[in-house]
Amino acid sequence: MNLEDKLFLDRYIVDDEAHIKIIDPGLCALCDRKQCLYTCPAQCYKLEEKKVVFSYEGCLECGTCRIICDEKKNIEWNYPRGGFGISYKYG
């Protein structure tokens, strides 16, 4: 089963504004490792035309990206507004 199908099983209450932002997209180009691309368990970070892009809709709010972006500290990380975001049925 691939990740996309798994995330499709999860319930999200999607806000219209992102709760996590890449502060300076230019800075990501200078990052050698780009660990966000492979550690995010929902693969919210992707490489598009050599640029790191983030989409918040599938975020599981774990906090991984904020902690591992320790070289450039280029992620502004918040929880979604109250009542929004991932909503586990089992947990």
Partner: protein
């Protein structure tokens, strides 16, 4: 209108926060419990087990009404190589009778129930509300700023029970950013399966359940474990490793969980099951040395927010509930004295220090750094043990004495005698 001042505001409705809120309300204090999720438990993930004695210290007789999955009557440890497995187990049906020991739970159900008990006890519960930070008067914390309009709430004490990421404790200046080596990143799936199939494949009767922890090849050399927990008619299946290792080994959690599910030891147990949910969560596993300051003027930090997890024993919910209980007792004392200063609230830390919470974390304070530097325990040793078992089990006409020598020779070829002794000694020192 003058702002109302509550006795306590608890931020986060997990087991730590719900315990503190419930006990405070029972003692007649005015308590607000704030949760950012649409319902309590909707953001929460664990393996997961709750433990009967610590839970009954909060709500006696909880097992008669709480949404529990199965009584844990067996714990298995698997040591895996790429294909093979050594299994160790302790099973005792006594654990399915009072006073029990542990129960598997699903957090979305359990936390919701726990909060309903807190509400019954008189807690003012406010869901779907994000707390953005503390409000201070000088150095004293006097309330919280929420994301709602006119969203300021005031209290004599604020309790940060907002989980591993604890933005609140950070906002209050109690700790800086978490280090990647001090948390584990775990992913988990809920796989549904009829209860009779679960009972058959795991050799369980009635409400019995089990937990399986797996070490070895499946974490690819990373410090971590895989797990299967049996629920009523679902399985919780997952894998967690120290976050700095995911980075270092360039591994993706969603790939590793798939690989684990297809391991020959795991695959047959999941046959026919359908995945129902996929989740990810951080586990604070930094231990004693990574615990932040846990109290300040008008502020207490409990549960995961305070790094109170004993990862080696898969204990977290019991430390969370017990810290919630100590926080409640401390606030009740502080109210009697009408003094919510740092000095009075330090009673909370003293209670933790005197209990199993800090004693256990202190005991293992060097274990994680040790394991981090001795990855052979997760790679080489499972291989050596499995090789030895294969040689021992295979009947091929080789005399047993020769087999014994083969095992010793193979072991020494992989790790010389001096290193074996060193590993054994340092292992004992790290766990003693």
């Amino acid at each position: 209108m003058k702002n109302k001042i509550f006795d306590a505001i608890i931020v986060g409705a997990g087991p730590a926060g719900a315990s503190a809120a419930y006990l405070l309300a029972k003692a007649g204090l005015e308590v607000v419990l704030i949760e950012r999720g649409e319902a309590a438990g909707s953001k929460n993930v664990m393996g997961g087990q709750i433990y009967s004695i610590p839970t009954s210290q909060i709500i006696p007789g909880f097992e008669k009404e709480a949404p529990l999955e199965r009584c844990v009557t067996e714990k298995r440890l698997w040591i895996l190589t790429k294909d093979s497995k050594i299994s160790m187990s302790y099973k005792n049906p006594e654990f399915s009778k009072p006073p029990y020991n542990a129960f598997t739970v699903l957090r979305a159900k359990f936390d919701k129930w726990f909060v309903s008990k807190a509400k019954e006890a008189g807690v003012l519960y406010i869901p779907e509300t994000l707390v953005e930070g503390v409000i201070r008067d000088g150095e004293k914390v006097i309330g919280v700023q929420t994301g709602r309009q006119q969203g300021q709430l005031f209290a004599n004490v604020v309790v940060a029970a907002d989980g591993v990421n604890s933005l609140l404790a950070k906002n209050a200046g109690l700790h800086s950013e978490i280090k990647p080596e001090n948390v584990a990143l775990a992913v988990k799936e809920i796989i549904d399966m009829p209860s009779n199939v679960i009972e058959q494949s795991f050799q369980l009767e009635g409400n019995q359940g089990l937990t399986i922890e797996m070490v070895g090849e499946l974490t690819k050399g990373m410090l971590g474990t895989g797990f299967i927990y049996t629920n009523k008619n679902t399985l919780s299946v997952g894998v967690g490793c120290i976050l700095s290792d995911w980075v270092k080994f360039e591994m993706s959690p969603y790939d590793l969980i798939e690989e684990m599910k297809s391991h020959p030891a795991v695959r047959p147990l999941l046959r026919g099951g359908q995945t129902r949910e996929y989740m990810a969560h951080l586990i604070p596993e930094g231990g004693y040395n990574a615990i932040p300051r846990l109290y300040d003027h008008g502020l207490l930090v409990i549960g995961d927010a305070g790094m109170l997890v004993n990862g080696l024993h898969q204990e977290g919910s019991n430390l969370a509930m017990t810290s919630g209980k100590f926080a409640a007792e401390t606030i009740i004392e502080a109210k009697k004295k009408d003094d919510f200063s740092r000095k009075t609230l330090s009673l909370y830390k003293k209670k933790l220090d005197r209990s199993f919470v800090m004693k256990d974390l202190k005991k293992y304070r060097n274990t994680y750094p040790y394991l981090e530097n001795h990855k052979v325990l997760f790679t080489l040793y499972p291989q050596i043990m499995n090789d030895a078992a294969r040689e021992f089990v295979r009947v091929d006409g080789t005399p047993k004495k020769t087999k014994q020598w083969n095992i010793i020779k193979n072991t020494l070829a992989k790790r010389n005698l001096w290193n074996l002794i060193k590993d054994g000694f340092s292992l004992w020192r790290a766990f003693k």
